[in-house]
Subunit: 172 residues, 8 copies
Amino acid sequence: MSQPLVGIIMGSESDLKIMQEASEILQQLGVEFELTVVSAHRTPQRMMDYAVGAKERGIKVIVAGAGGAAHLPGMVAAITTLPVIGVPIKSSNSIDGWDSVLSILQMPGGVPVATVALNGAKNAGILAAQIIGTHSKPVADKLVEMKKQMREKVENSVREIRIAGYNNEFDS
Amino acid sequence: MSQPLVGIIMGSESDLKIMQEASEILQQLGVEFELTVVSAHRTPQRMMDYAVGAKERGIKVIVAGAGGAAHLPGMVAAITTLPVIGVPIKSSNSIDGWDSVLSILQMPGGVPVATVALNGAKNAGILAAQIIGTHSKPVADKLVEMKKQMREKVENSVREIRIAGYNNEFDS
Amino acid sequence: MSQPLVGIIMGSESDLKIMQEASEILQQLGVEFELTVVSAHRTPQRMMDYAVGAKERGIKVIVAGAGGAAHLPGMVAAITTLPVIGVPIKSSNSIDGWDSVLSILQMPGGVPVATVALNGAKNAGILAAQIIGTHSKPVADKLVEMKKQMREKVENSVREIRIAGYNNEFDS
Amino acid sequence: MSQPLVGIIMGSESDLKIMQEASEILQQLGVEFELTVVSAHRTPQRMMDYAVGAKERGIKVIVAGAGGAAHLPGMVAAITTLPVIGVPIKSSNSIDGWDSVLSILQMPGGVPVATVALNGAKNAGILAAQIIGTHSKPVADKLVEMKKQMREKVENSVREIRIAGYNNEFDS
Amino acid sequence: MSQPLVGIIMGSESDLKIMQEASEILQQLGVEFELTVVSAHRTPQRMMDYAVGAKERGIKVIVAGAGGAAHLPGMVAAITTLPVIGVPIKSSNSIDGWDSVLSILQMPGGVPVATVALNGAKNAGILAAQIIGTHSKPVADKLVEMKKQMREKVENSVREIRIAGYNNEFDS
Amino acid sequence: MSQPLVGIIMGSESDLKIMQEASEILQQLGVEFELTVVSAHRTPQRMMDYAVGAKERGIKVIVAGAGGAAHLPGMVAAITTLPVIGVPIKSSNSIDGWDSVLSILQMPGGVPVATVALNGAKNAGILAAQIIGTHSKPVADKLVEMKKQMREKVENSVREIRIAGYNNEFDS
Amino acid sequence: MSQPLVGIIMGSESDLKIMQEASEILQQLGVEFELTVVSAHRTPQRMMDYAVGAKERGIKVIVAGAGGAAHLPGMVAAITTLPVIGVPIKSSNSIDGWDSVLSILQMPGGVPVATVALNGAKNAGILAAQIIGTHSKPVADKLVEMKKQMREKVENSVREIRIAGYNNEFDS
Amino acid sequence: MSQPLVGIIMGSESDLKIMQEASEILQQLGVEFELTVVSAHRTPQRMMDYAVGAKERGIKVIVAGAGGAAHLPGMVAAITTLPVIGVPIKSSNSIDGWDSVLSILQMPGGVPVATVALNGAKNAGILAAQIIGTHSKPVADKLVEMKKQMREKVENSVREIRIAGYNNEFDS
């Protein structure tokens, strides 16, 4: 495996069922990544070490997922100057996800976290690929291809719904 | 000045106008404290150092105030085993204070933060004193005295309102 | 059994399935506690009596859990000068837990309640132990040990995820 | 002055500017009332005494206003079997009034509080009069008269707006 | 059956599973009631007729339950001068109950609705009985008895929890 | 089939289970419609084309349903001058529907979207028919008939509840 | 003046400062309207009469604005089969506008209200004109012209910002 | 001026007072940018053209700010494969900013928007620079320097607070 460009981290192993969507889309888009657990609250020193060394190790973007009072994305962004993408996770101890969203999104001036939708790990992966794609034509091309497939999936739905009997003068 | 028992920290100098209410009430209750700025997002290493060494230096309770995506109280609680009291601050970049409240309150299992009301720095100071008071009779006695004064202030209001002309058969 | 230092109370027997997490962690941390039902709304006099006498009986910290319009923690804090930890419970009659959280957290100046996360009874227990631990080396040591175990649990997750096939250059 | 039928209480003298609207409307509707400060958090024993004795003293309805973690209405309702009307007050320490509303409204089964709108002290007074009016023809008649005046005020607005030049075929 | 004193109405037959709790507690407290469906949105004229005639027919209190954009309680209160108790119902088309609560609670000055907790039909029934009880000693006595039973239920829980093995020095 | 007057569009095939309620009620009310998938985010050009040409093709009203960050209704309204009805859908990626509601409702001045309740596709269909009915007597008559049936359904509930044994003096 | 096609009503004269934006835009778009005060809560019979007779009088669309527990739009929609546009108003007694929005938007199946943004009276006027425009070429043309002017206003901003010194390669 | 790498766009000229913070920080960090107004709702074709051509023109990152039902960032992200950073703006027609935040953040799978805090234009600029900095050493170095200055600003606050007389054993 070649050098990972994206570092995917999450606060708990239980977040993996959401966060693996980030790894799957990165794999599909041909972007090398690494993935592990780094807990801000249970392993603060590990978090420091991960964030301090990431740029040196060749990481270009960090994707960090966490739930509840979700401090991991913001704390990693406090330490590194790499772009950090935050994934608010609607974990079991969350109040409908509002805590996860607000504690990742509402970072103070100077320390941005690129926040995606609640449980939006797939979009975090795509966003990481878009960042890599700003300087990688193969990745940029795969993103264009992915957009085309999304359009085709809608066109397929259009056909299915017509077959199901719904009138649609627009496409006729 | 003798050894501070309570460490008051805040994410930004602009939080001082709220957080000084904690120091004022501690002074009134005869509890030694220290007060400084420790920013989770701008000085993460300083935060680590402060939290790691606090117990050794004789600090018994940490009061931490922060606003927006407020990570300071939770991160300090991640590092130390001292009780940490969190003060959510309704700073200018906050969404009506909800972000401050939720990112301090909703800590995961294992890492508690004793959260007080939005902008509740005075109560954070009293809570710190209550903790010190569990093993200090002078402080415990001052807390009893403070409660008495609160009651007397209500009794004074009762008199004022009667004088203002409002009927009140209960107190007659 | 020796003198309980922590009094765990709750508004209803139905809260026990949440609140027993507080008792379990206190047991694990070697802190003596008592546990019973005290309802602010159904047994206000019992609540008064409990709160008035707690300090005299040797209780150092009170942990109070309640849901909906949750008045128990705040009312106990109104009566005693001991530190009171409030556990908002997402009971069946609660609006997503917001009522429980706000009616415990938003206490007026002078009467703090140390609020923990929604359903955060485990953290309430740990916080109570941290308060006891400010003056008990055995309890303080157990808290340090517990933190170490939390870190080791993460390290174990790191290993499991690597074994599951996820690349992770940081730990290699 | 004859026997007060409605007891108006509030948690703090600062609530008077809102709560006096209850007293004004009761005066206008010819219902005898008393008004004083009773703080759940600063004078819990006074609150107990007030609530325990109210029925004996001839009070028929209690109107209780409070803000933030507003426990006064619910605690009074816990003690007395009289109808208790709660007025959530948007006090300075409130999160946009949500805390006041939810901690008064969301009472558990068995202990109702008749909650009115945020800062709705005038409506609390009217509701108290409606309760008195169920067994007092003079009060009931004044309520009918007040409704008529409200209708006439709208009719006056209708005229003013026509005079201001707005077309209105409905009333022509 | 004698003259109903309380009129229980609801916007839809599907609300009956919640609203029957009001009828059950009224039955238990010995208060005569009637119960039917009156929809503000589907039968506005029926609503007008019901509200206009209720006082004449001997009704003393109206309990109205509705969900979503819940206009029934407020509209009935607009027409009659009887006290109207509103029960916000968390119906299937409701946004977590917030719409039901706010559209019943937030009535303008002049037209109060005595709002109870979300799905709080039982409390609506008790509140209606409390209003009746202001002028009926048998009902008032039953309310006192009910409060006593609530206290005894807690005392029973206290015993059960001790038997389950939880230490409790307070009651020993 | 004759010329469709209402164009029903939705952001994803998965929205069909909600949006088909719009088509069913339009069918019942005798209004010709077409129905298809048009995604703002996956087929922006298709959305442009649909909105640009709708008026020319004889469409009078557009009903657009979407969830999460729901941009379809507002973007279609940005392009066409036809009335656009927006249906916020509580999709799986939505935060309790709040995102869907707010991103459809809160359009800036100049570009209205006629927003209906969360998942209110049936009401969107009725509203579309009401707009058609402003200039079609057959449709207007069917709307009157539908209102009558809604009233009768309530009257039926009234009977059922009486048969179930609930007293109801109003209807006797 | 010719026959009004749009009836603008509001719950209180104090709503006029918001609602006049609806009348201004209708005037600009050449749509005849009437405007008056109709209060659901203070003049329920007037509201009934207005809604019952509107269609007969030639009204095609009703625009209804109200704040707090805003029942006017929904109740008018309950009575008439005309399209009803609801304007939630952030009045002084509103909780940040949430009550106004939810009590207008969340109508039950069968009784739609076309809700616009908080304080969105201008958009309500445009929406009414769009409905009229479905069968009036002059109005439809004016809507197209208005859209053109909105575009030109943006183009003007583009020029102003360039003049202010901001680089913009897109328009160069 | 050399080729802009970052395109800053906003829905309205009135957003400039917030969005210029993005341009100022980019200037400070030595990143070329362009800035203009592009309205999703008033100039949808201009938005299409801007988004379609941005990559070809050499833009690497788009920063888009908008308020209320904020569709600009998401719609641009629907068209381009470049990373899009969204700035929710608390505009005058916004409900406390919640609409702006949710309609930018909650994008569906496949179309990410890198959302920053409410009014967080400065952080949007820094995030854009971080993305550029993944492949530009001068920009990356300036980001490291900026972080150092942030730390020094805190250290300065520490000194000021000591001078103001607050004890602080940690730094002594």
